[in-house]
Amino acid sequence: MAIPKKVKTNINISPRPPQPQYDSGYNGLTTPNRRRELSELITEDGTFLPKSVLHADMDRGMLDFVIEDLKTGVSGKKIPVIDRILTLQRWGEFSQTWSFSTPDKNVSLPFIVVVRQPDVQYGSNPSLQYTIPDRKQFHFAKVPTWDGNRKGVDIYTIPQPIPVDITYDVKIICNRMRELNQFNRTVMQKFSSRQAYTFVKGHYIPIVLEALSDESVIDTEERRYYQQNYKFQLQGFLIDENEFEVKPAINRSLLFFDTNTSHKKSGNGSPSVVNQHKMNIYNKNKFRRKLDYGFEDTPGGTTQTVTYAYKATVTLVRSDNVSSVVYKINGTTTQGKVEVDIGDVLEVVIVKTVGPLATSQVVLEELIYP
């Protein structure tokens, strides 16, 4: 009967405490704690910017993943992993394998080696594909600054990371089926949900198990050994700190006003009074009056009346939906200049361009005599 290996003596029966600031769920406004934690991982031990993630970093991440997460041992002995991505430099091979080599300087079996395919393809991670053109910069952080006189902030911006797919062949070479089984079990358990993650400079980068093949040499007259190849695809991205931009934010603004005295604006009604000072009195001798006309069959549809308490000369400055205007002072039609005196009643009669169910406006300007 199988004996359970993982015996938990304590069970945590208390549920995970809710985040106090989101007691009824995430509000969509503030940064969730987990996202803040991930962000801090990216910028840990450095500047406020993320660190570069380049090819060598991802290769190191893959090596660490194989060494740590796929470590395999048989009969209490760990299967060694060559802790380098082997390259063309010949003498480098032995310098990495001397610790488990034979007197003929051959590598002792079993061992695991990580071989990187030299070609790095554009990434297949759908969240990053061809979404932002032209290396557009995006806000990453605002960093306070102090130059001895003024407080300010610097704006840190970075472009979208570039997705890349790197293919690795992880090969186990051994003499015993038990070693193959053990390594296969470790890989299958790790990739039971197709992908696993390695951790590179604060970023979780997915690794997908693509294929498994057997390359064992089982020949009658040659030395026999097992060799299996696990093909992994690391769906990483490139972040190059040379592309980052730091620029100062606006810390002082100057507003310039200019006035043109040749075009004085007329006030509408009485001047404004602010703190007992009259404001907005650019041309106190002129007054503009707007007359609104309703539908033609209503009172005031075509005629508006104004009674004056001052002397003024009236001129038409603007009209809407009006084809012609007739002025009558105290019932008498006036031709030419319209001048009103104190107590006069001015009738403004219009003929509409479009009627009868349409409104019209007339704006009169009165030059007031003192």
């Binding site: 060598a56 290769d59 190191r60 090596l63 380098r84 991505i85 082997l86 390259t87 430099q89 010949r90 003498w91 480098g92 091979e93 032995f94 310098s95 990495q96 001397w98 003929d104 300087k105």
Partner: protein, 172 residues
């Protein structure tokens, strides 16, 4: 350290023994070193002191450390130069062929050197031209009959080297 166990070689002792082996070897070395006198320079990479990359184990030309160069003698055979191209036939590349060196094991032991995979070997082609090669097969395994005298005992190694361009190695 335990003393290495030694096994006496008694095969073909009716016709050939250690004295014969030593004589044959001495005569061969006299011929090769004294008469033929092919001289080579071995540049051994110091794998402990070289500054290597953490991920790839690679080194740049200034990061590789070498042990002191050692002159040694061997029988040299250089293959015909190969006419190759880069970029699908567009960039011509004419390089020397592989160099095969036969060297007495005893000679290496006397010099207290070992030739390892990846080491560099210099060969003076003319008075003013030194070509460098890297060891692609250090001939460490000498179990075949050809490397023995009548099957008695191995006495030489066959080292195969390929040409390296000056940007990889150009002497120390």
């Amino acid at each position: 350290m335990a003393k290495q166990k030694k096994i006496p070689i008694t095969r073909i002792s009716r016709f050939f023994g250690s004295q014969d082996f030593n004589l044959e070897q001495e005569m061969g070395m006299e011929y090769l070193h004294g008469d033929i006198h092919f001289t080579l320079v071995l540049f051994r990479v110091d794998r402990k002191k070289s500054d290597v990359d953490d991920v790839y184990g690679e080194s740049g030309p200034e990061e590789i450390r070498y042990k002191a160069p050692v002159e040694f003698n061997g029988l040299v055979s250089i293959a015909s130069p190969s006419n190759k191209t880069y970029a699908s036939g567009l960039v011509n590349q004419m390089e020397p062929g592989n160099m095969t060196i036969s060297v007495y094991i005893k000679h290496l032991e006397e010099l207290n050197i070992d030739v390892s995979y990846g080491d560099y070997i210099g060969y003076a082609e003319t008075e003013d031209k030194m070509r460098y090669y890297t060891v692609t097969n250090d001939g460490r395994v000498v179990s075949d009959n050809a490397h023995t005298i009548g099957g008695y005992k191995p006495y030489y190694r066959t080292i195969i080297c390929s040409y390296v361009s000056p940007n990889e190695f150009n002497g120390v």
